[in-house]
Symmetry: C2
C-alpha cells in the first residue's frame, strides 16, 4: 500500500477502527532529512510547549520508554529531552495527523520546556508593530545546564 | 544583526520588552523552501487543530487580514484557509518560538479544520500496537468541497 493509500484508508474509518502500527511505521512520509515535526502539548493545561523533530529511532524510543526523545538538527544526534537539564517530557499520548506528516505529543513536562528557562517556547507575541516577550524565565538557564 | 543574534536578544528580555516587528521579519530563519511551520490552536478550547506552512507572503497577509493564509506545498500556491470550504480561521494571536523557526497561531476556527471534515487533523491515536481513529467526521467532505 502506498503511503497516501494508508492515510486515505484511515481518513475513511469511523471512530474506534484501527490499522496495525507496524504498517503505519512503514508509511510515514518522512521529509528529505528523514524527519517528522512533533508538537509537544502539556496534556492537562493544553499549553503548546514547543515544536521539535524526530527521526525513526527517536520515535521508536519515545514510544518504548514513554519519555520523549527528539532528533537535534543542530547537533545531529538523538536528543533525549531533559538529559542535561532534568526537564523531561513523559509521553501521555502520541497522535498522527491526517496525512501522517506531523505528530502531536501530549506530554507531562517537568519544569520549563524551553532552553531559555521559560515554561514554553512561544513567548514572543506579535503585538501591533512589535514582537513582545510576554513570559518570564522560571529557572535561569545557567542553573538548568550548569556553567 | 544576525538571525541568531536577534533571537538571542529576545531570549534575554524580561516580560513587556519588545523589538520592532520589521526587524523580526528580516531575521526569520526560513527553511530551504522559504517556509516556516505554523501550528494552529483553537484560542479558547486550546485544541491543536493542525500544522501547515507559511511563506513570507502568507505570513504578511495573515497579519494584515487577520484571516489565516498558508502556503500549500502540494499545490505550490497560497492557501487561504477556508476559501473553498468556508471553514476559515480568524487570527487571534501570532507567536514565534525561541529561535524564530516555528509559529503558533491562536485562531477561531469555523467548523472543521481538517479536510476530512473532522474538527482537527490529529484524529489518529497510537494505542498499543494499533493506530486508532478516535474522532468523528462532523461534515462530509463532499459537502465541504462540493462534488
Amino acid at each position: 500500500m502506498s503511503s497516501a493509500g494508508l492515510w486515505k484508508t484511515l481518513e475513511a474509518l469511523p471512530p474506534g477502527q484501527s490499522v496495525p502500527l507496524q504498517q503505519v511505521f512503514e508509511q510515514i512520509p518522512w521529509n528529505a532529512d528523514g524527519l517528522i515535526p512533533a508538537i509537544a502539548q502539556q496534556y492537562d493545561s493544553k499549553e503548546v510547549l514547543m515544536l521539535a523533530w524526530m527521526n525513526a529511532e527517536a520515535l521508536y524510543e519515545t514510544l518504548e520508554k514513554k519519555r520523549v526523545c527528539y532528533w537535534s538538527r543542530s547537533r545531529q544526534q538523538l536528543w533525549r529531552k531533559g538529559e542535561s537539564s532534568g526537564q523531561i517530557q513523559e509521553l501521555k499520548e502520541m497522535r498522527f495527523d491526517c496525512d501522517g506528516d506531523t505528530l502531536l505529543l501530549l506530554v507531562d513536562q517537568t519544569g520549563p520546556a524551553c532552553h531559555t528557562g521559560r515554561r514554553a517556547c512561544f513567548y514572543n507575541l506579535v503585538q501591533g508593530e512589535s514582537l513582545v516577550v510576554d513570559k518570564p524565565v522560571l529557572i535561569d538557564p545557567e542553573t538548568l545546564y550548569g556553567k
